[in-house]
């Protein structure tokens, strides 16, 4: 640090840059809020009851609703988490509790971080090659698998980090009482970190619920409300994309309504997650 005397010019420059920093922060928030406000406002004009109660009709000038797409997303996320959550948690448990075996934990940790940054369209292509082609058709299973691929590294890393936050005294006390390693992990450590682990899982769910690209080549899309994952499967994001890039005014209105619903759900999810996380972190610290 040069300890020169700073003249008036330097002081004015500092004040200007101060203003710039404040301005930039305000600008970012204003810009992002503008985008969201616009989406919500247009969406609010377009959403109605039919949106939630009707499926896609065949007619693009009166397209019906997006009930099938909302249910589709819920089912896909549910199926993805049926595989993604246990696998991710198990991997996180391994990396946190068994990390004596560094030949597995270290590369797994590294790769999990790196996988989280892979473009989701590449994951979709993987899902196509691994599941759609051998299975013979586009399906909900392939879509759920692609989403699970995305979920597992995220859940693994957040589980690991939350487990590491649990003080060792918990583990020592549990062993002192005669518990096995499995019992310690499942009945002592995990419950202690459960708030934050659930937070991490729900963050992964929120991320995956908003994904479009991985579903384009795996679940394809459908206009029917269906619970059968063996067939092409609808989803809110793909349906919005299809309508948004088309020429039909009525379909585009539905796309805006869909965005409103999607953003509202994701916002509500994230809000609850962070409130719960803050509360459970305080709880952990106070112990």
């Amino acid at each position: 640090m040069r300890s020169q005397g700073v003249g008036q010019l330097g002081r004015w420059y500092s004040r200007i840059m101060f203003g710039v920093c404040v301005g930039f922060a305000a600008l970012i928030i204003a810009l992002l809020s503008l985008v969201i406000w616009y989406l919500l406002a247009i969406g609010a004009q377009s959403v109605d009851l039919a949106f939630f109660t009707q499926d896609q009709s065949g007619d693009p000038t009166a397209p019906g609703g997006m009930r099938h797409a909302i249910v589709g997303t819920l089912v896909l996320v549910g199926l993805a988490s049926a595989v993604g959550v246990p696998m991710g948690m198990l991997a996180g448990i391994h990396m946190a509790e068994y990390s004596q075996e560094t030949w597995l934990a270290k590369p797994a940790r590294f790769i999990a971080d790196v996988l989280a940054g892979v473009p989701s369209i590449v994951i979709g292509i993987l899902g196509y090659e691994l599941i759609v082609v051998p299975m013979g058709n586009f399906s909900g299973w392939a879509g759920a698998a692609a989403l699970a691929f995305i979920m597992i590294p995220i859940v693994a890393r957040t589980t690991e980090e939350m487990l590491l936050l649990v003080p060792n005294s918990y583990r020592a006390g549990s062993f002192a009482l005669g518990a096995t390693k499995a019992q310690t992990i499942l009945r002592v450590v995990l419950p202690a970190a459960s708030g934050s682990v659930v937070t991490g899982i729900m963050l992964a769910l929120a991320r995956v619920a908003g994904e479009t690209a991985p579903l384009l080549f795996t679940a394809l899309g459908s206009r029917f409300l269906t619970l059968d994952p063996n067939q092409p499967f609808p989803s809110l994001t793909v349906q919005i994309y299809t309508y948004a890039t088309g020429p039909y005014e009525a379909e585009r209105r539905l796309a805006w309504a869909g965005i409103l619903v999607l953003i509202s759900i994701l916002f509500a999810l994230n809000l609850t997650i962070r409130v719960v996380a803050a509360r459970s972190a305080r709880h952990l610290k106070s112990n």
């Binding site: 404040v22 989701s120 994001t237 948004a244």
Partner: protein, 371 residues
């Protein structure tokens, strides 16, 4: 009861025949099961990466073998075969039995236009987003605590990071693109259009009727500029959040020391930025990785024309948008070429993420050593 802590990895501190030993013998199976399942979970992550690389590589092999290194410098992306009149040795069109002889030019694929599109849009995104993000991060770390709004602002920015990319795509297509087309581009053209140094922005050179011709660019709003700006908006939250974390880790001694030596507020900030430059660079790389891998928003606003053009007002195609546009119906060599592009995209994002991690770890150990 003299029970030693019965850590399973230490020697038998449990008297054999005691109730504890009996209990452990029964639950040993649970131990084994969890250990195996946990190992399986961790292995699955490693398997996922190997599967990705293996599947993409084997499927891209036909294209790799056919085009080799030329794939990365070729500007051709032609899916259909071309029939051109054959030119004889005398330079004139060959005729046989009064009919023109046609040579068939097979499909040719080259990744350069998409690499160019990805590079330009990412560059525009970083140029716009990095100053904004760094400024906001400095604000959050240095100014906001005094005003007691550091928490809410960070919270807000992280919340905004949860917006799905398709929302940005919709906004970009129906709000930003028309705005750029009707206001920004014409204004820029009025101001800069006559200056020869800026001619490349408003004119493009295309091969028409076999000759290179210069044409004024028609503004459509769906171009590299719109793509870059949308990407900038999308990566603002992530760069801001990471930069904020990195700057927060700068030891207070550093800041207070510089202030004590008579530095102005900005000079101490600059000192912070320099101190944390490894981590900040990592934040930029993370933003770059996100921008380069973004698909949905950019497919909707980039114009989907797989070409190389100098002007930001020209349409283009990025690697991700090319895959979104063409993969579903590609077959044969076309599909192999697309998979090679996907492989390039994957390896690029892996490299970015590895570099970012390395920068963070390096930065952390540096600040740890400073104590």
């Amino acid at each position: 009861m003299s029970q030693a802590a019965s850590h399973p990895d230490r020697g038998p501190a449990i008297p054999p025949g005691s109730p504890t030993a009996a209990r452990r013998a029964k639950t040993g199976l649970g131990d084994l099961a969890l250990g195996i399942m946990a190992r399986f979970g961790a292995a699955s992550i490693i398997f996922m990466l190997t599967a990705l690389l293996f599947v993409l590589f084997t499927a891209a092999l036909p294209s790799v073998r056919q085009f080799g290194a030329n794939f990365f410098i070729s500007t051709q992306w032609r899916v259909n075969t071309l029939e051109k009149p054959a030119i004889g040795p005398d330079g004139r069109v060959l005729k046989e039995d009064g009919e023109t002889v046609m040579t068939t030019i097979p499909p040719a694929f080259g990744a350069l236009p998409t690499i160019y599109g990805t590079a330009v849009t990412s560059f525009i995104a970083l140029v716009v987003a990095v100053p904004l993000s760094f400024g906001a991060a400095i604000f959050i770390v240095r100014v906001a605590p005094r005003w007691k709004i550091a928490g809410p602002i960070s919270f807000l920015i992280e919340l905004l990071a949860a917006i799905p990319s398709i929302a940005y795509g919709l906004w970009g297509l129906y709000v930003l693109a028309p705005f750029l087309r009707d206001w920004v581009a014409p204004t820029l053209q009025k101001v800069l259009g006559d200056i020869p140094a800026f001619r490349w922005m408003f004119f493009e050179t295309i091969t028409i009727a076999g000759r290179l011709q210069e044409r004024p660019i028609a503004f459509t709003g769906r171009d590299m500029l719109c793509g870059g700006l949308i990407l900038a908006i999308m990566i603002l939250p992530i760069i801001t959040a990471v930069a904020r974390d990195v700057l927060r880790a700068v030891p207070r001694a550093q800041i207070e020391g510089s202030l004590a030596l008579g530095a102005t507020w900005w000079q101490s900030c600059w000192g912070m930025l320099r101190y944390a430059r490894a981590g900040l660079f990592g934040a930029v790389v993370l933003g770059l990785a996100r921008a380069a891998g973004e698909t949905m928003a950019i497919t909707m606003v980039i114009g989907n024309n797989n070409q190389i053009a100098a002007s930001p007002f020209a349409p283009a195609q990025t690697m991700a948008s090319l895959l979104a546009s063409e993969f579903r119906e590609a077959a044969g060599l076309h599909r192999a070429a697309l998979l090679e592009v996907a492989l390039v995209l994957l390896i690029m994002s892996l490299i970015f993420n590895v570099v970012a991690r390395w920068l963070f770890v390096g930065g952390q150990s540096r600040s740890a050593a400073a104590h």
